[in-house]
Structure formats: structure tokens, C-alpha cells
């Protein structure tokens, strides 16, 4: 598809940011005092970072919040009623400066939440999001987007993709109608593209995901899983920072007669995730849970959802307290 490309100067970028924040919630990355990169709503432009490799958490909470009400209820002996959450009241959000890996994750999440029946909590949230992505000009050893079919400058999932020029200005690529409407409403901020090439990070391919998927077909009983997960301590860090992990729990909470049913993030790494009330646990040791995480992303999802469940952001590896490096393991799996 032919897309429009324009040049936007750094100072115009600030004007664009301010203009967008006036009518939307703008969700943008900032570097906190403890070096963690976190997304905040409407931070001052001067705080917004353009040089981060990856934020600590992904941006999936925009469409899949860590806690989300499913409905409010009131319950007493004689009277029960359910009140829906009005999803139409959700504000418009501009996601600013998120990298191509995170943006590609929205489609994967859609394939989980909207296959078969449509989960409106997810899809209504997604409708409200406009993505102004930022191509990566830096990367590190954890990055492996190119091994999952993505790229540091992939436009997948972005409405506009910004790429940095060496002088500090940016190329803006308008990918969707949502993106083009921003150009249409602020044409004065954009100039015609020059010859200058954008600075794009180099991310070397570490494995072929097709080959991994192929190998996994017969790898369920392989000793690989136990050998490579002995050090896994069974926390949920990898799944909670992951842009595509979407497993959730549903719980009730009441105060007097009033209460709510909500869903919250859950993790296949937890021992209690699959525990039956009877005490039987289909995945009773950690190696089985680790296998589930990799199988789900690289075998079950390609099979069922026709999308790979991983975008290669490398967050799970960098967040892991015991250095369970997923790209290293996938590389090894490719060759078992």
C-alpha cells in the first residue's frame, strides 16, 4: 500500500504533541528517576523520551488494563441487578512514541480477544487508540523483532510511524486513515520529505520462527523443557511485561451489597493457574508451565490464531530475575 511520507521538524513535533494533548489523552514514555521507562498520560513534552530501547511494561494496558471492571452488581436477598460499564465513555487516546514491536502486538491481542466471539472490552478500547509509533534507532542484545517477522521500522499496528533523522528531525509515515486525518488537521506542521535517510537500528535475526514452530510440533515431551527451566522461579514477570500475553483471571469484590466483577492479568507461570479445586494440577511443575508459554506463542497461536504470539520485544528476557532468555531458548529449540 502506498503511504504518505512527510518530514516533521523537532519543534513541530512538540506543537503536534501539544495539539493532540489538548483534545486527547496522550500516552507517552518518560524516563523515571530510577531509570525505568514508563508510559504516562499527558506528560510534559520535555519529559517524553525518544531514545528508549524498551519501556519497562508494554503498552497493552491501554487495551487490556491490569484490572478492568466487567460489570457492577448489587446483590441482596431479594434484589439483584447488574449494571454494565459504559464503554462508550472511554476517552480517545493517542499512543505516542511506542516502538514497532509494541504496535504489532495489538493485532496479536485482537486475534486472542476477538477470535470466535468479539470481546468488546478489548475492541472498544482499541478503537479509541491512535498509534503514533516510533521506529527504533537503538537496540540491545535482548531485541529479536526481526526473528518474529517484525522490524525496527515496521509499520504494523501504527497509524503514523515516526523515524528519526540524524539531525534530530523525523520522517512521519501515514499508514491508516486515522493517521492521515492527523495530517489533514495539521498540515502546517509537516514538510515534504527530503533525501535524508532515517536512522534505523540493526537487529540481527536469531532464529527462524517458522522453523521453531515446525520443531515444536513434536517437541512436547522433549527433555529440553526441564533442562532449560530448572532455574525458572515461577513468577509472572515475563507474562506481565509481555505485550501479547493476555491470560486473565476473573474475580468478584464486594462492599456490602455493592460489588463488581473484574478481570485482572494472570500468568501461566503461576502454579495455581491451572490448579483444579480437587487438588489435581494438569501443569504441576514449572517446566510444564514454561513449555506452555513457549508453545502457546510459537505453536498453538500460529496454528489457531494464524499469528505468532510474540513480537520479539525482548521484555520477558530483560525482566526475568533469573535470565530466562527467550531468544536464546528459541534458537536452541530451532536446532533440537
Amino acid at each position: 500500500m502506498e503511504t504518505t511520507r512527510k518530514l516533521i521538524r523537532k519543534h513541530s513535533l512538540e506543537l503536534l504533541y501539544k495539539k493532540l494533548s489538548a483534545s486527547n489523552k496522550v500516552y507517552a514514555p518518560v524516563t523515571a528517576t530510577d531509570k525505568q521507562v514508563e508510559y504516562k498520560y499527558n506528560p510534559p513534552f520535555s519529559d517524553v523520551t525518544f531514545d528508549h530501547i524498551r519501556s519497562t511494561l508494554s503498552v497493552k494496558n491501554l487495551v487490556f488494563p491490569k484490572v478492568e471492571n466487567l460489570f457492577i452488581f448489587s446483590n441482596s436477598k431479594t434484589e439483584s441487578s447488574i449494571t454494565d460499564v459504559n464503554l462508550n465513555l472511554l476517552p480517545n487516546v493517542v499512543l505516542w512514541g511506542s516502538h514497532p514491536c509494541d504496535n504489532a502486538a495489538f493485532d496479536i491481542l485482537r486475534s486472542i480477544f476477538c477470535w470466535d466471539i468479539n470481546d468488546e472490552f478489548f475492541s472498544k478500547r482499541l478503537e479509541k487508540v491512535t498509534v503514533i509509533g516510533l521506529a527504533c534507532h537503538t537496540s540491545d542484545d535482548y531485541c529479536f523483532c526481526t526473528s518474529t517477522g517484525n522490524a525496527p521500522n515496521s509499520v504494523k499496528g501504527s497509524d503514523i510511524l515516526l523515524s528519526k533523522l540524524s539531525g534530530g528531525d523525523y520522517i512521519a509515515e501515514f499508514i491508516t486513515a486515522k493517521g492521515s486525518s492527523i495530517l489533514a488537521s495539521s498540515p502546517e506542521l509537516f514538510e515534504n520529505e527530503t533525501e535524508e535517510k532515517a536512522v534505523i537500528a540493526v537487529v540481527n535475526t536469531k532464529f527462524s520462527h517458522e522453523q521453531v514452530t515446525e520443531k515444536l510440533q513434536t517437541a512436547f515431551e522433549h527433555p529440553f523443557w526441564v533442562e532449560n527451566s530448572l532455574r525458572c522461579i515461577g513468577c509472572g514477570a515475563c507474562t506481565y511485561v509481555c505485550p501479547t500475553c493476555a491470560c486473565f483471571d476473573i474475580q468478584d469484590e464486594t462492599k456490602g451489597k455493592e460489588g463488581r466483577r473484574y478481570r485482572s492479568w494472570d500468568s501461566c507461570g503461576f502454579g495455581l493457574f491451572t490448579l483444579h479445586t480437587s487438588g489435581h494440577n494438569p501443569r504441576h511443575v514449572q517446566s510444564q508451565r514454561w513449555r506452555q508459554r513457549i508453545m502457546h506463542k510459537f505453536s498453538y497461536m500460529p496454528d489457531r490464531n494464524e499469528s505468532l504470539g510474540c513480537v520479539g520485544c525482548g521484555r520477558c528476557s530483560s525482566a526475568c530475575p533469573v535470565d530466562m532468555n527467550i531468544s536464546e531458548q528459541l534458537e536452541a529449540l530451532q536446532n533440537i
Binding site: 480477544f113 493476555a246 476473573i250 468478584d252 493457574f273 491451572t274 479445586t277 508453545m295 502457546h296
Partner: protein, 278 residues
Amino acid sequence: MSENIYKPYLMEIDNIIEETPDVRTFRLKFKNLEEAENFSFKAGQFGEYSVFGEGESTFCVASSPTRKGYIECTFRKAGRVTNALANLEIGDTVGFRGPYGNTFPIEEWEGKNLLYIAGGIALPPMRCVIWNTIDLREKYKDITILYGARTVNDLVYKHELDEWKNRPDIKLITTVDPGGQTPDWKGEIGFVPTVLEKVSPSSDNTIAILCGPPVMIKFTMPVLKKLGFQDKDIFTTLENRMKCGFGKCGRCNVGKVFVCKDGPVFSYEQILELPEEY
């Protein structure tokens, strides 16, 4: 207003039967008549039953789709929700979402003999299909039900067992584990696989439907094979922990198969293909 797929129907408890000290059967009626009209399900499907403030629990619909206007469920007090359910009284409200999952292929079974084998609390998931086929009795040939429990006390649906016992068109065999019998127990004594071997039903033109604890399944399967049943003619249901019921929350999968979407009903042929995660 948008459609909230997590929103349950409000149901009123119409009747409660205390099956055993810790097993109850609820008859539930829709509070909203319009919802009742539009509701339909098939044998084998399940739902999410909720007590507001405690959460949801997954179990099958235990009544037959041929009995309209209500649904029934049978549960054992085990966790937070089932304990809360057990404390409810007639007239109280519960939530119900469903029906979810696939169904027993009863149309394909027409003209065949049916052999139902259940153990303990696993009769409820089968009761739906049993009644469904009994209500369409003329479509099936011999119907045999083999039901075992640990003790006489643990047998559920005692009143219905009596009814089945007295029907000439159904063969019912009940058994209790050795030591679980009472002085006036007239049924068999012994584990389900042993009794099955003793009764030795013919596998000719017969579908076997098997539900029970894993250990019972494990020892019953070889007996069925010995009797000549084909893997494709043996059906069972799988249970895994679930939250959503429609393939999103990500915890009930057995390999790539979602028990909530592709199950809960599986033929043994399908089960053999699955990795051991159930």
C-alpha cells in the same frame, strides 16, 4: 448498549435437592422471560455459575435440553463459589453464563446402543445426555447405565436411579466400592472397571460414554478395549480450570485444544492425540 459477553443471566433458584451431604442440585429459572425464550443449549454444554461477590464456577448443565423452561446443575461443595452456592436457598439469585462448549453428537448415535459409564460426581455431566436420549427413546436401541460411587451415600440422583431401575427400556447397574455398601444395598459391590468386565456389554453397534475420576478412566479404558470398543466410539468429557468459558482467558487448553471451545466432549480417538495436560 453493547453486548457484554461476561454478563450472566440472572436466575432464581426454583428448587434445591440435597443429593448427598456435600452435593446439591439446583433447578434454576430465568428471571427475565425474554431471556428464557431465547435460550437454548445442547447436551454436553456447560456454563459459568456465579454467586455475586464470590465469583464464578464452571460446571455442566445437568438437565436435558428436552426439558424446557429451566436448567439444572449439580455441584459438590469444594471451593469458594460452590460453598457459597451451597449456602443459598430457594428464591435466591445466582448468575449463569452459557451455554459454552461443544455437544455430544447424539444425532450420530441414532440407531445404536448406548453404554453410559459414570463414577461419583461425574454422573451430573452425563445426566444431561442420558435424559436427552431417554426422552428420545425410540431413536436409540439398548440403553445401559453403569454408575458407581465410593459409598451408597455418595450416589447422586437417587430418586432418578430408582426411576431408571424401574423402567423396562433401560438397564441400570449401580455399584459401590468395596466397604461402601450398606446392609440393605442391592446393587453391585466393586470398582467400576471390575463390574464392567463382569457385566461385559457387547461393543457391537454400541457407543460408550465414559465420565469419572482420572483413575477410573485409566482402568476402565483397557476393559472397554478388551470388549472391542473402537476409540472413536468412546466419548468422554474433560474438565480443566476455566475462567471465561470461550477461549480467551487461556487456562483450560490441553496442548492447542481449548477444553472450553473444542470440548468438553471428546472422543477417545481425539484424546489420544492430546498431550497429557488434563
